[in-house]
């Protein structure tokens, strides 16, 4: 704002006509008479009166309560079963596995947990694994990945981003693929479900592993180096596997459509959770036909290949079975929240109405001081 009070234009400015013949009638400086310049733009002037505010409260109340009830009922109809298989207790079948852990153990530790479902699960059943106290949202963890590499970029494959440190190069000085802490800590327990007939025969329940990742992730965001049809083993030749992994990325699955970076388990893991307690989709149990429930009532066994250590940070591992509805999975909070907010709004509306009737001044303009 270093305005100079002199403006060369002023020197040039029009001279008043009174004192000299030079001052011909210049253009009038009268401002234009437009609604904008005169601040007369047509406008809508809403005002908070009892007539507008109180109905708003009632309407919100009346809309929210039914929604909430609907949500609550829907949520209650969803069947969900959860089992913790961390193995904290001595009594737990997985206790041993949780105790003897080392990343390098070649012989997998297996444990099986029996459970029973009281009610049959009718439609498709989704199998989740849940982790608690796992800080997948820690900044250093979140940024420890290289999206270019995961997108199949060949340069990034050999030169991973610095963000991946300290999981950037392996012990053999080769770049790690996939690099970074997220990939390195990929969940690698294997869960298998067996249905135990009343006559004690175990049937393995088929778990579908296709379609558990987002379409965009699987088809756009994640791509194998050199396209999906090339020889993965060759592509990953110059790379080292993540430190914690037992096998390299190109051996994640036998199916070439689900191997390497586009392995759906891997993609799901790479979509980091917002909160330290989270669940991720593991498998889907497809409904066979309309006649039989997907998971009938009865006894089951969960067979866990226990690879993933969580005890060091007091984490928990869970397996969740759930059906879903139009609004997603079981989430009673949403319904309750809607009912609560709706009722509070309605109640507030009533209180405001009373206050307004008792104390409010309704358009008495007589007391406006001049």
């Amino acid at each position: 704002m270093m305005a100079s009070s002199y403006n060369a234009k002023e020197e040039d400015g029009h001279h008043s006509g009174a004192s000299g013949p030079g001052g011909a009638a210049a253009k009038s400086k009268k401002p234009d008479n437009t609604a904008f310049k005169q601040q007369r733009l047509p406008a809508w002037q809403p005002i908070l009166t009892a007539g507008t505010v109180l109905p708003a409260f009632f309407v919100i109340g009346l809309i929210f309560i039914p929604i909430g009830i609907g949500l609550y009922v829907t949520s209650n109809n969803i069947k969900e079963f959860e089992i913790d298989y961390t193995g904290i207790d001595m009594s737990s079948p997985c206790f041993n596995c949780s105790q003897n852990f080392s990343w390098n153990s070649t012989k997998p530790c297996k444990c099986s947990l029996p459970f029973s479902l009281d009610q049959p699960f009718e439609s498709n059943v989704f199998v989740y694994y849940g982790l608690s106290n796992f800080y997948q949202n820690h900044r250093r963890y979140v940024k420890s990945r290289d999206d270019s590499q995961l997108n199949g970029d060949l340069f990034s494959l050999t030169h991973p981003s610095k963000e991946c440190e300290p999981y950037r190069t392996g012990s053999d000085n080769k770049p790690i693929a996939p690099c970074g802490a997220i990939a390195n800590s990929m969940f690698n327990d294997t869960l298998e479900l067996y249905y135990i007939d009343p006559n004690e025969t175990r049937t393995l329940i088929p778990l579908v592993k296709k379609g558990i990742a987002w379409w965009t992730d699987k088809h756009v965001k994640f791509r194998n180096p050199g396209g999906n049809n090339s020889n993965l083993t060759a592509s990953f030749q110059g790379n080292s596997k993540p430190v914690n992994w037992n096998k390299p990325a190109y051996e994640l699955d036998a199916d070439p459509e689900n191997n390497g970076f586009i392995n759906e388990d891997f993609i799901v893991w790479m979509r980091t959770a917002a909160l330290p307690t989270f669940r991720k989709l593991y498998r889907i149990i497809q409904r066979k036909n309309n006649m039989t429930p997907t998971l009938p009532r009865g006894n089951y066994t969960l067979e866990v290949t226990y690879n993933y250590p969580v005890r060091s940070f007091e984490g928990r591992k869970r397996m969740i079975l759930s059906t879903i509805s139009w609004m997603g999975g079981k989430n009673p909070f949403l319904g309750i929240a809607y009912i609560t907010v709706g009722s509070v709004c309605f109640f507030l509306g009533v209180v405001l109405l009373i206050i307004h009737h008792k104390y409010g001044n309704r358009s008495n303009n007589s007391d406006i001081p001049n």
Binding site: A26, N33, Q39, H138, S148, V220, A274, K280, L334
Partner: protein, 1238 residues
């Protein structure tokens, strides 16, 4: 070639250094030597050439200089530091672009603004620099561009041309080397001034050959900014000729009524007096801006506190949880130390949370103010048609302060009054004329309808002149000697220049409106001043031409307070005619005038009581011998170099004795249109109006009554006019006691702290109305001698409804403003029109200039300018109020939205191990402030209004909240930040609870970090949009467009950012690919967003409703009324308030004052009402020589062009230390000199 290119890009002189720091080669110059027509010689001194440069940058230097300037601002520097912090990988919690994009946008917007400003400056520079002028080069007149004119060149100017540079006038087309100029651009006076060439050079005429040979050498003062002074000598052909301002044509003037003239360039370009006068304007800041800066500091503090809390949290987390988590999250070695990790986290959080200090705040505020300024400029209701003058906001940074004004300091002349004077009454030989009586000898109030005297007998009369008392015309016609002599004096003794455009169409160029009025009166009464030469004055005395020889001219000055002419009439009689302040003239009367003097002074009292301005007239017949002898001495004295002025004064004194009194004149000072109504309205708005005037007490009081400032029903009017500090102290204390009651006064004198606190309480409780009128000399005592007295003065003044300070100097005006500024935390506004108001205008928080009769100096120094006092009402009550409201609402919302946005990260910190992980997408952080939320709030800040203009003017109390700082203060700030904190809390925790176990309808989880981010971000954008919707009272199409547009923009950008295309190009910058498609198609996400929005908004809605319903503010009430009245009767004319003003012609001021006659006769308060406030003492009164003497023509310059400013505010018995026109008040601003010279 290269040099040529360089020169095109970089103006070669001064280069890129900003103006003011420019290395001026003439800076150390002690004396300037210029030789005409000798460029070689003049080049030795490397004087500046005539190129001017007001621009700051050139193409090459723009970027570095502009960036350097911008980074000097604290906010920009802060963001630069943040940017650097972000480059440290251990700390960086945000990508570099989140800071750099807004920063670059801010820098670019500012740079574009600076660049356009500079472009226009370049263009106008260019335009001025390439003007053509005729320069005498090598014996030929050649057309040259202005910028190529050099010091020492001889230039030919033609009529109506601008003067190219500061020139020494050599010769002109007019006789005696006279030349007329208009100096409106220079000092704002648009009357003609006369300059005269030295006799020796005027003989050169238009002879090119002679001019080309002219090789005079000028030795003169170095460049300076004094417009009214020039000293130097011209050395030519071995003779030395003194040079003065009268020989100079200054750049910026326009040549008038002169066919051509030749001049020698003395100062060129940046060294001209015009350019030297262009100081930088001081930068004023509004109180809101100061508060804003404080708040930003607080926010910094808050930011650091949050950083510390989170850093401590991080340390604890690392120790308790993080260590155990190392299996999955290995740190580098450094980070294994938890404390060090905490330290780094602190900086990371500073980066993340930096958005609580909004980078766009300052830019947005600037934009808003600019918009508000334009609204003022565009307002047709502030347009003054008569002068074709629209209001102008010359400073764009003060608008909101217009809504907080508590004190108005107003000049009187030209501000409250029109400075148009009308010959209203006179007293001739003991008889008053001018009153009209009806058949029953009752005085008739003169109105528009009162019949006027018919002047048709006089073909030369001025048709606009109105006079109502026909007896005076009768007296003239009858031929009463005294009456004729009276008008003859008025026609002879003055400094008016006649201009007869065509036969009989006379126009007078008067130095002061008083003189104009008097000469016009004489003209109408048959004594037409028709023509003048340096030695003669031609009158048409009742149709008969009579030529008087002007023998001597005894000029006016502040000490003499009179002027005289000595003329020889055709009969050969020598007469001295004198007009001057009554006291001065009365002292010099012949003893035989005793009786007449008494009667006349009675009449004078009457006139003064009516607010009329008076002059006494007298004459003396001189003996030929006495005069001859005196004339000789005068001629001798005028050649003396040393104490010339003293000698001349003595001689004048000697001849102005034994005068015969003729009578007295009374002219009326007309009020401006709408002044009383405006003052009433403003005082209803609780604005205190103080009138500071140079006028004498009675006139000031009278104007006070006619402006409704003083009223008959006031409880008491205190007049402080003590001559010693003790007296003043006693008067002030007693006044205070009268107001507060004795007990309180005792209390206040006991302890100052008590008094100041109790006073404010009393101010509110005092119902009785008081007025304070204080004289300049008393004010001097009160202001300067004792600090305690100052406090008492202020207390009393603030307890009074009306304060009038009369006889104050320009400096005192500034001191009074300063006093209030210092002791009261209130916004002051000074309004004035003349040079004498400049200091006051510059001192006050807001300076308003009225472009009036006294020129444009006040306007040039002011922050706002317009044509009429009455516009002040609209400026404050409408524009000021709106600006203030808008700015406050804008700030509240701005802080709210940034807190709501940023604090989500704080809450998230507790759940992500205090790792400084952001909740939102980085692009969202980048764009939130500048794209998603900036325009709606700008639209609100630009267009919002609650009550329309008619109601704002009708209910002035609506202005009160601004004065009390109610709409934005620290408490408000806390409320809106708390609101922001609450919103951020809801925004985070509602989705937190709901997303905890939420699952998509295809079974995939939604509690992933990206989906969580988009849920919160979308809720946030919707919540702040709804909130701005609630805040906006006035929804224009623009508001709709911006609010809906911003929302649409958000979704458009969201989908674009999450598109496959962008990801495939920059996979690492856009990791959110596909998110919008996947998340925003989920019903549960929308259900969460809806719930969050309702939870955020409904409590606010309830609180607002309760507020307006239970405790509606005045604006709420008026707003309802406005709505109701619009429905009922659409016409708004009925709202106009008609207020009868008290009759101006009743002698209120007189009737209310005891001992008035004593005051008059003592002469202390008498004033001389002839002319200018700023006589130029440096111009010596030059005697006109009798015809036989060689023609020297110095006389012309004696009467024309030496008096500045005009107007009546001469300072009576107070020494004038006021600024001369065009000179800044720096000189006068230092030493308080208001001594009494009585």
């Amino acid at each position: 070639m290269a040099a040529k290119w360089l020169r095109m890009l970089v103006p070669w002189r001064g280069g890129w250094t900003p103006r003011g720091k420019e290395p001026r080669p003439g800076c150390a110059e002690e004396e300037r030597h210029v030789r005409a027509n000798d460029r070689l010689y003049n080049d030795k001194f490397s004087y500046a050439d005539n190129r001017i440069k007001t621009s700051k940058y050139s193409i090459l230097t723009f970027l570095p200089v502009n960036l350097f300037e911008q980074f000097q601002r604290v906010a920009n520097a802060y963001f630069l530091v943040l940017l650097i912090l972000q480059l440290i990988p251990e700390i960086s919690s945000l990508s570099w672009f989140t800071t750099i994009v807004p920063l670059v946008m801010v820098l670019v917007i500012t740079a574009v603004k600076d660049a356009t400003d500079d472009y226009f400056r370049h263009r106008s520079d260019q335009q001025v620099n390439t003007r053509q002028s005729q320069v005498l080069i090598q014996g030929k007149l050649q057309n040259e561009k202005w910028m190529n004119v050099r010091v020492g060149d001889i230039i030919k100017l033609e009529n109506n041309q601008f003067v190219t540079a500061d020139l020494l006038l050599l010769s002109s087309s007019e006789p005696y080397g006279l030349c007329y100029i208009e100096t409106a651009e220079l000092d704002g006076e648009n009357n003609l001034k006369v300059r005269q060439a030295l006799t020796v050079t005027s003989d050169l005429g238009a002879d090119i050959a002679k001019l080309a040979e002219f090789d005079g050498e000028i030795t003169c003062e170095p460049p300076n900014n004094k417009l009214d002074r020039f000293t130097g000598t011209l050395c030519w052909r071995g003779n030395k000729h003194p040079l003065e301002n009268e020989h100079m044509l200054l750049r910026g003037c326009v040549l008038r009524n002169t066919d051509w003239c030749f001049g020698l360039v003395v100062f060129a370009g940046p060294q001209t007096k015009l350019m030297q006068n262009c100081g930088r304007t001081t930068f004023k800041r509004t109180s809101i801006e100061k508060l804003m800066n404080t708040l930003v500091l607080w926010i910094f503090g808050f930011l650091i506190c949050m950083g510390i809390i989170l850093a401590i949290g991080n340390t604890i987390w690392e120790v308790k949880v993080g260590r155990a988590f190392w299996a999955y999250l290995q740190w580098g070695e450094l980070l294994s130390n938890a404390v060090y990790s905490g330290f780094l986290t602190f900086w990371s959080y500073i980066i993340i949370l930096n958005t609580v200090v909004p980078i766009s705040l300052y830019v947005s505020v600037e934009v808003l103010r600019l918009g508000h300024s334009y609204f003022i400029n565009w307002d047709r209701k502030l347009y003054y048609g008569e002068k074709d003058m629209a209001a102008e906001a010359r400073t764009t940074t003060l608008n909101e302060e217009l809504g907080q004004v508590e004190f108005i300091f107003s000049d009187k002349t030209g501000t409250l009054t029109q400075n148009i004077l009308i010959f209203h009454k006179c007293s001739i030989n003991g008889t008053t004329y001018g009153e009209v009586y009806d058949d029953f000898h009752h005085k008739v109030n003169i109105t528009e309808k009162t019949p006027c005297v018919d002047f048709s007998f006089n073909p030369l009369s001025d048709p606009k002149f109105r006079f109502h008392d026909s007896s005076l015309v009768e007296a003239v016609k009858v031929g009463e000697a005294c009456v004729q002599e009276f008008f003859r004096l008025l026609a002879l003794c003055h400094t008016v220049m006649p201009e007869e455009r065509s036969e009989g169409e006379l126009v007078y160029q008067a130095q002061s409106p008083d003189e104009g009025a008097l000469v016009t009166a004489a003209r109408n009464f048959g004594f037409v001043f028709r023509a003048r030469t340096p030695e003669t004055i031609t009158l048409y005395e009742i149709g008969r031409p009579v030529t008087y020889q002007l023998l001597a001219f005894l000029d006016f000055n502040n000490v003499r307070k009179r002027m005289s002419v000595i003329v020889r009439n055709p009969k050969g009689e020598i007469k001295l005619y004198c007009k001057g302040a009554d006291t001065i003239v009365f002292e010099r009367l012949h003893p035989s005038n005793e009786d007449l003097m008494d009667t006349t002074s009675e009449h004078l009292n009457e006139f003064a009581g009516e607010g009329l301005r008076t002059l006494a007239l007298a004459y003396r017949e001189l003996d030929e011998d006495v005069f001859g002898e005196w004339m000789e001495r005068l001629q001798y004295a005028s050649t003396v170099v040393g104490n010339r002025e003293e000698l001349l004064n003595e001689l004048y004194e000697e001849v102005e004795q034994d005068l015969m009194l003729l009578g007295a004149t009374a002219v009326e000072d007309k009020l401006q249109e709408g002044v009383p109504e405006t003052i009433t309205c403003l005082s209803l708005a609780n604005i205190k109006i103080w009138v500071l005037t140079g006028d004498k007490l009675e006139t000031a009081m009278n104007i006070g009554y006619s402006c409704n400032m003083l009223r008959d029903d006031m409880d008491e009017v205190f007049v402080i006019s003590g001559h010693s500090s003790l007296e003043v102290a006693r008067e002030l204390r007693s006044a205070k006691e009268r107001i507060l009651g004795p007990s309180c006064a005792k209390l206040s004198s006991a302890g100052k702290s008590i008094s100041s606190s109790s006073d404010s309480v009393f101010e509110e409780t005092i119902i009785a109305e008081y007025a304070l009128i204080i004289n300049g000399h008393s004010l001097a005592h009160a202001l300067e001698l004792e600090v305690e007295l100052e406090q008492v003065l202020l207390d009393v003044a603030c307890l009074c409804k009306t304060v009038i300070c009369c006889r104050v100097t320009p400096l005192q005006k500034a001191q009074v403003v300063e006093l209030v500024k210092r002791h009261k935390r209130a916004v002051t506004l000074a309004i004035g029109d003349g040079a004498n108001d400049v200091s006051m205008i510059k001192t006050a928080h807001i300076g308003v200039g009225i472009s009036g009769q006294e020129g444009t100096q006040a306007v040039l120094a002011s922050d706002y300018s317009f044509g009429q006092f009455r516009y002040l009402q609209r400026l404050l009550l409408v524009h000021g109020r709106w600006s203030y409201r808008r700015m406050c609402k804008f700030l509240c919302y701005f802080f709210y939205k940034n807190f709501a946005f940023t604090l989500v990260h704080f809450w998230f910190g507790f759940l992500c191990g205090f790792s400084a992980q952001t909740v939102y997408d980085q692009w969202f952080i980048t764009l939130y402030n500048i794209v998603y939320t900036s325009l709606p709030v700008l639209a609100m800040g630009m267009f919002d209004k609650d009550v329309n203009e008619h109601f704002s003017l009708r209910y002035p109390s609506l202005y009160r909240p601004g004065q009390l700082n109610l709409l934005f203060n620290k408490r408000k700030f806390f409320t809106c930040t708390l609101h922001g904190v609450f919103t951020s809390f809801v925004l985070f925790f509602v989705p937190y609870v709901l997303c905890f176990s939420a699952v998509r309808d295809d079974g995939a989880h939604v509690s992933d970090q990206q989906a969580f981010a988009i849920t919160i971000a979308t809720s946030l954008v919707i919540v702040v949009s709804v909130q701005i919707g609630l805040d906006t009272d006035y929804w224009t199409a623009v508001n709709h467009f911006f609010v809906w547009g911003s929302l649409a923009m958000y979704f458009a950008i969201l989908f674009a950012m999450h598109s496959d295309g962008l990801f495939s190009m920059f996979p690492s910058q856009f990791p959110y690919i596909g998110l919008a498609r996947n998340a925003l198609t989920q019903k549960s996400v929308w259900l969460v967003i809806l719930l969050t929005t309702v939870v955020c908004i409904m409590p606010m809605l309830a609180i607002r409703f309760l507020k307006t319903d239970l405790r509606p503010s005045l604006s709420d009430k008026v707003y309802l009324l406005q709505k109701a009245s619009r429905r009922q009767h659409p016409q708004e004319q009925s709202l106009k308030r008609v207020r009868r003003t008290s009759s101006r012609r009743s002698a209120y001021a007189f009737a209310h004052q005891q001992g008035y006659g004593e005051l008059i006769t003592s002469g202390r308060n008498m004033k001389f009402t002839a002319s200018a406030s700023t006589p130029n003492l440096s111009a010596p009164p030059s005697p006109a020589l009798s015809p036989p003497a060689p023609v020297q023509n110095m006389s012309c310059t004696g009467w024309i062009g030496t008096w500045g400013g005009g107007g009546e505010e001469e300072l009576g018995d107070v020494d004038s230390t006021g600024e001369s026109p065009g000179v800044t008040d720096d000189g006068a601003g230092k030493t308080p000199t208001a001594e009494i010279t009585a």
